[in-house]
C-alpha cells in the first residue's frame, strides 16, 4: 500500500520552519544600564528623575550658603507637590537627592513627616521593661531640623496630531525654620518632544 508521505513531510517542514522564523514568539529579557537615557514615551521617566535630582543636589551643594559653608545643617524634607496631570512619585526625586546629599557629608536629615510615626513608635517601644534602659533611645532627645526642603513640580503639555510637547519644571526651596528666611531656591526644567 503506497501512502503520500512526501507532501505530509513537506507540510511538517514548512510549519517547523515558520515556527523557527517567528522564534516561537519567546520574549527576551536582558539587564540594561540604569543610567542610560530612556525615551520610550514622553511621560515622566527615569532619566527625568535622575537629571532633576542630580541637578538639584548639585545646586544645593554649590549655592545654598547653609550647606556650602560646611556647617553640616540638619534638614527635613517636606512634601514636593505634584501639580502635573500625570502620576509622579515626587518622593522618589527627594529620596535620590537625600542619598546624594548625605553621601556628600555636607547635610544631615532629620526624621520627616512621613517617617515620624515609625520613629516615635520605635522610641516608645524601647521604653518597655524588656530593654536595658541604659542602652535605649530616650524620649525627648530627638534633634529638630534647622531647615525644611519643599517645592512643587509642574508641567505644560501641548499636543497636535503630529507633535506632543511636554515641559516639566521642578521648583525647590530651602527655608530656615527659625527665621522663615528662604536660604536657597532653584528651578530645573526639562522639555521633551515626540513627533509621530
Amino acid at each position: 500500500m503506497h501512502t503520500p508521505a512526501l507532501p505530509r513531510l513537506l507540510a511538517i517542514a514548512v510549519i517547523g520552519s515558520a515556527l523557527i522564523v517567528t522564534g516561537c514568539a519567546k520574549p527576551k529579557t536582558r539587564y540594561g544600564d540604569a543610567g542610560s537615557v530612556e525615551t520610550v514615551t514622553n511621560q515622566f521617566g527615569s532619566t527625568d528623575l535622575q537629571m532633576l535630582a542630580e541637578g538639584m543636589s548639585q545646586s544645593m551643594l554649590s549655592e545654598a550658603p547653609a550647606i556650602s559653608s560646611g556647617n553640616l545643617p540638619i534638614v527635613t524634607i517636606q512634601e514636593v507637590k505634584n501639580k502635573t496631570s500625570e502620576y509622579i512619585d515626587t518622593r522618589a526625586v527627594t529620596n535620590r537627592m537625600r542619598a546624594t546629599l548625605q553621601k556628600s557629608r555636607k547635610v544631615r536629615f532629620a526624621t520627616d513627616d512621613a517617617d515620624m510615626q515609625k520613629q516615635i513608635g520605635e522610641v516608645q517601644r524601647q521604653q518597655s521593661e524588656y530593654y536595658d534602659q541604659e542602652k535605649t533611645a530616650q524620649i525627648g532627645k530627638m534633634v529638630g531640623a534647622g531647615f525644611r526642603l519643599t517645592g512643587e513640580i509642574t508641567s505644560i503639555v501641548k499636543e497636535t496630531k503630529e507633535v506632543k510637547d511636554v515641559y516639566y519644571q521642578l521648583f525647590l526651596s530651602l527655608t530656615n525654620i527659625q527665621t522663615g528666611i528662604e536660604e536657597w531656591s532653584d528651578t530645573k526644567e526639562i522639555r521633551k518632544t515626540t513627533e509621530r
Binding site: 543610567g35 537615557v37 532619566t47 535622575q50 542630580e54 548639585q58 551643594l61 556650602s68 559653608s69
Partner: protein
Amino acid sequence: MKAASLATALVVALAITGCGTKKGFEKPGFAFGCPIGESKISSMDDLVKAKTAKEGRQQADVEIEEIRCTTTGDLLKVDVVVFNDESDVERMLYKFRWSDAEGMRAADEESWKPVLLYGNSRQTVTTIAPNTRARDFKFIIMGQE
C-alpha cells in the same frame, strides 16, 4: 640711581613675563584650576584631551573647547564649554566620572544626561564634585542615537 633703574627694569620684566608662570598654570599640579597630577599639560588643548573621554558606538560630533575648574567651599567645581561647529542640531549625552586622590572611584557612576546643541552654538556644562574625596574627574561624552 643705577641700582634704582635696575630694580625698576627687573620689576617691569617680571610683570611682563608674569613671574615666569603661564596663565592657568600658577598652581603646581593644576591647569586652569583643574587637577592634572603628574600629567604633562601645557595648553588648554592638552587639558581637554586629558580630561575628556568618548564612549559608545555613536560618537558625539562636538568640540570640547574649554575645561576650567575652581572650588566652592572644599568641593571641586567644573565648567566645560561644548561647541557644535556644524549648522545642524547635535544631540549628545554626558556624565562626569569622579576619582579620589589615589585614582579610586570617589562616587557612584552618574546617569547619562542629554544635551541639545543648536547649530554653531556653545553650551557650558557645569557640575560640582559629589563629595570632598572627589579630587579628579573625566568628562565622558557619547552621541545620542
